[in-house]
């Protein structure tokens, strides 16, 4: 299978690889996928106010999965939570020129963003209660 230049670029030079402190109240962590499906994405956000000031990822998956999550971290950095939630997988497909067989990678990246935001909001709600 031939990969697009952008997929290869993200694969060779992934942006924002790493981990944030998942116990910190200002960090939201989303882990989606499953090893037996061949993809697991972990995407983390650091939030100040309602703005994402930092994002990190680690991905087990094919080149397109790595590129989708790398791109996702790039896009959400500096965005508000609502702006991040508005990112659609189809935008990732378009940006990376993903073939139909790789669309699930973009879906997973969208899910990872949503899961990270959800985790952050859940933590904040718990903080507010205590």
């Amino acid at each position: 299978m031939a990969y697009s230049k952008k997929v290869i670029d993200h694969y060779q030079n992934p942006r924002n690889v790493g981990s944030l402190d998942k116990s910190a109240p200002t960090v939201g962590t989303g882990v989606v996928g499953a090893p037996e499906c061949g993809d697991v994405m972990k995407l983390q956000i650091q939030v100040e106010g309602d703005r994402i000031v930092d994002a990190k990822f680690k991905t087990f998956g094919c080149g397109s999965a790595i590129a989708s999550s790398s791109l996702a971290t790039e896009w959400i950095k500096g965005k508000t939570l609502d702006e991040a939630l508005a990112i659609q997988n189809t935008q990732i497909v378009e940006e990376l020129s993903l073939p139909p067989v790789k669309i699930h990678c973009s879906v997973l990246a969208e899910d990872a963003i949503k899961a990270a935001v959800h985790d952050y909001k859940t933590k904040q709600a718990l903080e507010a209660k205590s």
């Binding site: 061949g38 087990f60 080149g63």
Partner: protein, 405 residues
Amino acid sequence: MKLPIYMDYQATTPCDPRVVEAMLPYFSESFGNAASRNHRYGWEAEAAVEQARERIAALIGAHPKEIVFTSGSTESINLALKGAAQMYAEKGRHIVTCQSEHKAVLDVAKHLEMQGFEVTYLQPDTTGRVSAEAVAAALRPDTILVALMWANNEVGTLNPVREIGELCHAKGVLFFTDATQAAGKIPVDVEADHVDMACLSGHKLYGPKGIGILYVRRKNPRVRLVAQMDGGGHERGMRSGTLNVPSIVGLGKACELARLELPEESARTAALRDHLERRIFGELDFVYLNGNREHRLPNNLNVSFAYVEGESLIMGFADVAVSSGSACTSASLEPSHVLRAMAVGEDLAHSSIRFGIGRSTTREEVDFAATQVIAAVKRLRELSPLYEMALEGIDPKTVNWQAHH
């Protein structure tokens, strides 16, 4: 060193230059139809075909008259399984095979099931091997055919062909074995091994693509098949169609070379394979051998690199051409059915790579490949959330994953 280094010899092999040279006169000079009995052109072609038949027979311990030319192993498997099932349907309608066979066997078996045959799909052990005891337990009074491969194309595991053959002969059941990966790599002797039918393909042993054979035993027992291709009655009526003389000559030459060079070549490839294996297992943690350490092809190494997905790994060492058992390399989205049958977890199946050592592989190439793959695994593990978990002492297997596809 020519890049990318080819290490996918179980998929196909290059034509040996000596094979190409042997074939050349049969395209435009000695171009006759081997079935033409009335002139020199036909006689020359026929003589070349008969010489090739002898060379092929010599490689597998058969009689030249037992060799039926086909377009390759897929066709041979269709002819053997469908042809025997249809011929012996009166005797019984039960067939025994295995879950880790090549798709060509499994798909033909499914086709026969739709035609009213019953098929038992044995599960191999975790190394990919089927024991003669397991076959014995599956046999029934109405079993007409056992179809089990000699060597597995993904993991290189060898089945105990001789024991299975002896069992089948003792029970009066026909035994077909797919020798596509075995022929030319390990000694194959259809007589000593009690094989009734076997197939091989030219392109797996440095011959041309699009040519192969089916070995069909002539006596003890005499195997009869219903032809799957009707026409001029070539190949003892089992496979009609004008013989592909240049390719047959090429296959003959390839088999002769394979037979003469087998002892040396098998030891040489095994030594290189062992070197590759030692380097990978010595320099990486969480790596697993898929297959059988004792009973395996000399030129095959299948390894799972835990916590790294196969396709991304292959992308990471683009200068080495190999295959992965991961679903992402195919359109099916299902990982290797062979590894699944061996009960290798799907996570490890997605992480598997098959390395093949071939006739032209050098130690320098093996070292280059080892260095590349080790570096790629290390880099991708830096990106892997599963490796991070493993280092934290969490087994990703114990996590309740929310699978969504």
